[in-house]
Symmetry: C2
Subunit: 306 residues, 2 copies
């Protein structure tokens, strides 16, 4: 039977992996047996914590898709963040919580976007709409995605729907969300074994506006200084990436998940987009209360572009 | 209170008008009191038949929107088919059954697309999801949109969901769908009072692909010959439109709603896009079994462009 692949964005985060798995489960419950979760990159440590907790395997890696391949996108829509070959794939369905851009299809499709903090919250509502029971494993997958995307409901992207879903799911899973959540988030901040090259690629998303190509990479940490201790080497790798991909701007966001602030490291020949809005010292700026790429950093960059 | 406008595409058809009205009713039932249906053009005769049947007024005309105006789109998403100023509006929500293209937002939003024959069928499902009762007026609005978009379930765009919705709605409305539908469709084919200039604008949609700008206008009739009796004048008006809007191609589709076929009249310096696929005689071709712009004509043009 022809397989339909379900996947989140490149540099997958916990929402991308967990929502792919959840969507596969939802499809199976609805009788669609040929959809299968995939991932577009390495599993990060936070997500690995979740998979280990549940003792399940990660989805298989998907490098690219052939023309006409049927796919379902979760947690993203922009082609720049999707699989190689997406332009020629047949997109059957999208479930996402981001803005819509750099996306088009030639046929009608299912598209469900809601401005929630997390894709899994949308899928949670679909489980309820279809009247499906949710078991412990499913609940933990959704809980993990919600905690990750909302930083335990502290990110400004958090909505009442995420709060409500997390509350109801925690009752099903019978786990203490705060204890589990802090452990999961902390697992994700263990960056010790990553090279600087890997750090700036771990969770990087590419954007384009008015012909300006920019990339925003983000890491979570409990110590900003620790991540920046080798700034010279980080800048070297960022400049290499800028050259390789023809970027105009690279913003590396180091987010302190305990205090909910971020430091940014900014490079590229269009770093004026940032520096005209906030003073950069040594290519860096501290952004109080900023934790969300989608809700805070992207609009900030776009404001600078306009 | 700040108003939020709900509207369908330019040259509104029955689905665009009825779904705007239905979405306003749905919003009110859900407690949102400040959304109001609007229309982006003249009410056509088919839609007027529906409004007269229900003894209700058409939504107010909306000429353009100011920057930051909050809007909800139904039955379309492509900016080329939307209101003047849409690029600077804040799109809160979209409910649609077309492909997604020439559309983008800077913020997350609600987007519900399903590949059904009609937007009203999606809204019908939302009424059910929210557990709202449907009264006779609401049922007739939805029935009319479904009949119009699916040509009484005969168009290839028709899905099981449209069939099912129409069946359930006809039980609520207690009307004979076939009798009502034929009368409604026939009302739409009364083109007697339209000039040739008006005919080619009645239901025209603009598209763009690979920098090729094209327009597909469609009229329904019970006599194709009758519509084409003044072909010279029609061509004159089409050529004027091509010049005015810088179009590369104009396809005028005359659909016989009783026999479910269409004749096309093709003009523009890129009419080769059509003529390499089907022989044009006197700029015309007869397309057996073709009735749907979305499912048949647009893919046909796009195939020619590639």
């Amino acid at each position: 039977m022809e397989k339909i692949f379900i996947f989140g964005h490149k540099n997958p985060d916990t929402d991308s992996i967990c929502s792919s798995l959840i969507r596969e489960i939802l499809d199976k419950k609805n009788g669609y047996t040929n959809t299968e979760a995939r991932r577009l990159g390495k599993v990060n440590k936070e997500t690995q914590y979740v998979l280990d907790y549940l003792q399940i395997e990660a989805p298989e890696l998907l490098e690219k898709v052939e023309e006409g391949q049927k796919v379902i996108l979760v947690d993203h829509n922009e082609f720049t963040q999707s699989v190689e070959g997406i332009e020629k794939a047949e997109i059957l369905s999208v479930v996402d919580h981001h803005r819509i851009a750099n996306f088009q299809t030639s046929s009608p499709l299912y598209y469900t976007a809601k401005p929630y903090g997390c894709t899994a919250t949308i899928l949670y509502e679909e489980f309820k709409q279809f009247g499906h029971e949710i078991d412990k494993k499913e609940a933990v997958l959704m809980i993990s995605a919600i905690i990750s995307d909302t930083l335990l409901l502290k990110s400004p992207t958090t909505t009442k729907k995420d709060e409500q879903a997390l509350k109801e799911l925690s009752e099903i899973a019978k786990i203490d969300v705060n204890t589990y959540g802090i452990e999961m988030l902390k697992a994700g901040t263990d960056l010790s074994e990553f090279s600087e090259e890997e750090l700036i690629n771990l969770d990087a998303k590419k954007f384009e506006k008015d012909n300006i190509k920019y990339k925003i990479a983000q890491v979570n940490t409990v110590s900003i200084d620790d991540v920046l201790k080798n700034q010279v080497k980080l800048e070297e790798e960022i400049n290499k990436k800028i050259k390789e991909e023809g970027l105009d701007l690279f913003v590396f966001v180091i987010t302190d998940i305990l205090n909910n602030n971020s430091e940014i490291l900014v490079l590229g020949n269009r770093s004026d987009i940032i520096s005209k809005q906030v003073e950069l010292k040594n290519n860096r700026a501290f952004l109080e209360g900023v934790v969300s790429r989608k809700k805070q950093i992207v609009p900030f960059v776009e404001k600078g572009i306009q």
